[in-house]
């Protein structure tokens, strides 16, 4: 059966997420990947990607578009990257962002410093046989996670990949760089 994935399309690298999920689902007939901008767009989705972008901007637009409660109640799996990871947390070091509280963890925004400190690194991720080329762009880290959260990867600055029930969150950008192993791990975890 086809899989329906939405990408929260308020701001950020939405097109890259759409392209990555389309490729990950290329051999699954009847699958679709669509942009989500309104509460009604969430109906019938199996999964939702929350993209990278500016978490302050996306947070504000979630409220403006009446998406806060619908996202908290969303029953599918969530695949969140960078700003998305900040938004899924239940605590953040910044009052300018109202997080969704979907994953019990504390995140620090911009944990690496300025853009020149952004980096690519070969990262060991639990469940992957070979390291993953992770692209960190003004990335956050989780500094503390609840006992129900599985830590998939960490670096000296903090935790950068987690799984919590049907949700996965990454401080880096699996949607950039063409390696879809984490997308496949996410879909398999949902039994899709």
């Amino acid at each position: 059966m086809g899989v329906k994935v939405g990408v929260l399309a308020l701001q950020g690298d939405v097109a890259e997420h759409v392209a990555a999920f389309r490729e990950a689902l290329a051999e699954r007939p009847g699958s679709s990947v669509m942009a989500v901008r309104r509460p009604a767009d969430l109906a019938d989705l199996d999964a939702l990607a929350i993209p990278g972008g500016e978490s302050t901007t996306i947070s504000r637009l979630i409220e403006k578009n009446g998406l806060y409660e619908p996202l908290v109640r969303f029953e599918g799996g969530i695949f969140a990257t960078c700003a998305g990871m900040v938004l899924t947390a239940d605590r953040v070091d910044d009052p300018r962002v109202r997080t969704l509280g979907l994953i019990p963890m504390h995140v620090a925004r911009n944990a690496f410093g300025r853009q020149v400190d952004s980096r690519e690194a070969m990262l060991e991720v639990a469940g992957l046989a070979e390291p993953f080329r992770a692209v960190f762009i003004r990335a956050p880290v989780a500094t503390d996670v609840g006992s129900s959260v599985e830590v998939l990867a960490r670096i000296p600055e903090g935790i950068v990949a987690v799984r919590h029930g049907r949700h996965m969150a990454f401080a880096f950008h699996p949607e950039l760089g063409g390696d879809l192993r984490l997308h496949r791990m996410f879909l398999e975890g949902l039994g899709l």
């Binding site: 500016e54 020149v116 980096r119 762009i137």
Partner: protein, 298 residues
Amino acid sequence: MKLEELRFGTELIKRGFASMQKGGVIMDVVNAEQAQLAEEAGAVAVMALERVPADIRAAGGVARMADPQKIVEIIDAVSIPVMGKARIGHFVEAQILEALGVDMVDESEVLTPADEQFHIDKAGFAVPFVCGARNLGEALRRINEGAAMIRTKGEAGTGNVVEAVRHMRAIMGGIRALKGLSSQELADCARDIEAPVELVIECAERGRLPVVNFSAGGIATPADAALMMQLGADGVFVGSGIFKSANPEATARAIVEAVNHYDDAKVVAEVSRGLGAAMKGLDVHLLREDEVLQTRGR
């Protein structure tokens, strides 16, 4: 993590940074207070300046990089990325901006050019660059030099969107015209527009520029911003349009929402209500030749 495999300032990181700005509004600010207002309104980044383009025009003289003190003050005031402008070809101003921790450098025609022959060799920097362009050839020459983001030049500081429209139509039309051309014809086109053939082929294959493409130069209202988005911009820069309007806070919020809902006229109509006067603006046709900024750099 293997520390020896850490890599900084790669093409993927620089272009990736620009991708994170998509669907957003980048606002010109001249102090910490304006920067905080922009962040609060939902800007994805701010451009730290000594003066907005309308005031640079009015002041005349040589326009240079802003005082580093000013830039640091703005960096310290907000959590969103901070960009800074360097003069065309002035790679030392760019080095200074990079050293200050600016997240992106705008090699900008709004400042007085420092080199009339060469732009900055941007590939050698870890910090990403955005550059202005009036047409496809100019955009691709800047990308070839290492620009991670393109913006239309428009005509900065006029509050008149006509030049931004001209430049966006030229870039998008230039890409559409590549469709269906043979490799021989693409090579011929590359010669015509004075752009590297590999980049022309990439545009033909992808149907868009290889990097994020914003609009800038004369955007003054939510309707202007939505117009540029409908013409194909990935996001907008608003310079003088916010802090030269009657109500900067309301105008900033309205432009953010207009970009978010650029294809929904009801929302753009709603956010445009009661904003008060937009910046006064200039008729581009009445500018003297030496007052036109967009012809700086080619």
